[in-house]
């Protein structure tokens, strides 16, 4: 067999060069030298986040944030309704002393929200029980699975094939379990939210009846109402509004399953590194250090962050349509391994989207507008990357970064109730608690939208009307 020509081929090609990809040095320089200094600061921030994240992994986590959510909604609604009434009250008495009533009403609102917390607390108790039961089930599965991994590891090189076979079906079933429990949690959440909102409304509706207004006062109130109506009628010409919003969509989600995992679905394997002769490989160190320990992969989706600017066009007194542009950042963290030796990946995807909304103004009282809104958003992923850190004995051994080439389009629909408060002539602030549903984008990316397509969100923003 003559392979001599192959040696010639190698010799011939030895000094060959190819065109270097554009901007490569620039990117490398940014990674190594520019960011190097900035990263230190960010690193500390991230570390703090990680700590928080780890704390949150406890089973109560989901419910704690649920409390916050309910309390938040209750407080926002309570404050808006009560402050709204306070304004009326002030009009009635024509007093300029605003400070005192505000204090009182603040107290009241905190009282109502704490009541609602108690109410919802009862409901969560049963849910908590369910959850802990499920967790126990999961734990037993975990233990079984890790045993199998342990045994598998003893077989050295066979490890990966065997483990892949063991892991995959288990991971799948675990995923399903998790998804199911997640879904039911979601449903619970929404039901409760609906209940609390309904309760709030009820109590708000009841309150005016309980108030004893003298005929004189009622007369005053009616007149004021009329005046205000006139004013709003005058003002509700067709106007363009620009709004800025920031969204806080529901809580983050955490999943845990045994074994190693990666964000893109591949598995780590030992032989990959075995023949590298360039010193110790961090992944190797991690796999070796964790050889006889129980390893877990934790997938945590962080709360989406949204910023945007939008334009509203008022169609008559009650209807309005709006569109605009918004930016959403989704990030997820995946850690595989034990607490001191692990592979941590962080996936960040940036979306730019165009929302279309229809608003219907239900009530208009003074500076307040209560409305319901519904619409859809089309979002396109503009960029994304996965950063992977290999941590051996608590120190970062290696860090890689790769870009996500998949850029799916995400379609979602949402509905919300909103309250807007006009601060000065053409600037208002608004709060919109609502529910959104994200359709499957048929991509392989694993995001919070996939995990929890139906989520509760709360948007705040400033609207500037352009007349």
């Amino acid at each position: 067999m003559n392979n001599e020509w192959l040696n010639d081929l190698r010799r011939k090609m030895e000094d060959h060069t190819e065109d270097v990809p554009d901007g490569l040095w620039k990117n490398i320089r940014e990674e190594l030298f520019v960011e190097n200094e900035e990263k230190k600061g960010v690193g500390i921030g991230l570390a703090a986040n990680d700590l928080k994240a780890k704390e949150k992994v406890t089973s109560t986590k989901g419910y704690r944030s649920l409390f916050y959510r309910i309390a938040g909604v209750a407080a926002v609604l309570g404050i808006f309704f009560i402050v709204g009434k306070m304004f009326d009250f002030n009009f009635e008495n024509k007093t300029s002393n605003l400070i005192k009533p505000i204090d009182n009403h603040k107290y009241e609102s905190s009282k109502t929200s704490s009541n609602h917390q108690k109410l919802s607390g009862k409901k969560t108790d049963t849910a908590l029980q369910n959850f802990s039961e499920r967790r126990n089930n999961l734990n037993t599965i975990e233990i079984n699975n890790s045993n199998q991994i342990f045994v598998a590891k003893a077989f050295g090189k066979m490890v990966n094939k065997v483990r892949n076979q063991i892991d995959n079906p288990f991971l799948n079933t675990l995923d399903q379990n998790q998804n199911q429990s997640e879904k039911s949690n979601n449903q619970n959440t929404i039901q409760k939210e609906e209940i609390t909102i309904a309760e709030l409304k009820e109590s708000e509706e009841n309150q005016p009846d309980n108030e004893l207004l003298s005929k004189e006062e009622k007369g005053w109130k009616d007149k004021l109402e009329e005046e205000k109506l006139k004013i709003t009628n005058k003002k509700s010409k067709k106007v363009w509004m620009v709004s800025l919003l920031t969204g806080n969509a529901s809580a983050n989600s955490t999943e845990q399953f045994p074994g190693y995992a990666t964000l893109n679905g591949t598995t780590y394997s030992l032989p990959e590194i075995r023949n590298l002769e360039m010193g110790e490989d961090p992944l190797m160190s991690i796999l070796l250090a964790n050889q006889d320990k129980k390893v877990d992969a934790k997938l945590k989706h962080k709360t989406p962050v949204t910023f945007g600017a939008s334009l509203y066009y008022n169609l008559g007194k009650r209807w309005g349509i709006g569109t605009g542009i918004n930016y959403t950042k989704l990030s997820s963290e995946l850690t595989s391994g034990t607490s001191s030796n692990f592979v941590g990946s962080e996936q960040t995807i940036h979306y730019v989207g165009i929302p279309v909304q229809v608003n219907y103004n239900v009530i208009q009282k003074g500076a307040f507008t209560g409305y319901i809104t519904g619409g859809g958003t089309v979002e396109k992923a503009v960029s994304g990357n996965i950063k992977t850190q290999y941590i051996v004995d608590g120190t970062v051994k290696e860090e890689t970064k790769e870009n996500i080439s998949e850029k799916p389009v995400q379609v979602s629909v949402n509905g919300a109730v909103g309250l807007q408060l006009k601060i000065i002539k053409n600037i208002g602030i608004y709060a919109e608690p609502g529910v959104g549903y994200h359709f499957n984008d048929n991509s392989s990316l694993n995001t919070i939208y996939k995990e929890k397509p139906l989520n509760f969100n709360l948007k705040f923003g400033i609207r500037v009307s352009l007349d």
């Binding site: 020509w5 060069t17 394997s269 990959e272 002769e277 790769e402």
Partner: protein
Amino acid sequence: MEETKEQILVNRLLKKEETAWKELFEVYSGSLTYVCSRYVIDKEDVHDVLQNSFMQMFRSISSFEYRGNGSLKAWITRIVVNESLKHIKQNKSLITVSEDFEIPDETEDEEPDFEEISQQTIMQMIRSLPDGYRTVFNLYVFENKSHKEIAEILEIAENSSASQFHRAKAMLVKKIKEYKMSKTAQYE
């Protein structure tokens, strides 16, 4: 003993001087791009793999041992090869080459003559090989790996590596012949 240019550069690289790293990039990036492009076809992927390779060099330069002239190039080349393989594995489908091909006869004893063929053309021929064949071929020819080693790296059977290599070689010989034919046809 007087330090060679390469040694001086290594010392500066160790201090993580930006100018030193830029120099390293300027001197070797063309050759490293060639190495990477042997394995990875997509241009953006080549960019990413090279970027990761430089990150890797930056992190592990302290573990580099100078063993005479050319050892720096050998070291960084090895890193690029490793990163390229890592990339190929992450995009797994590339390695699943069907094994139901017939191994061509080993009778063609005439060596292909590529004296007059440009490096660029040969590069194109190598890059046009199917992914699995190309990876095996590159590892065997350019990285001097044995079939046993290749089998371990790619997690395939040893005879699969050998058969893929023969197939790749046969395809390349065929490509060179065809190229020469078309060349001579042009002159006639």
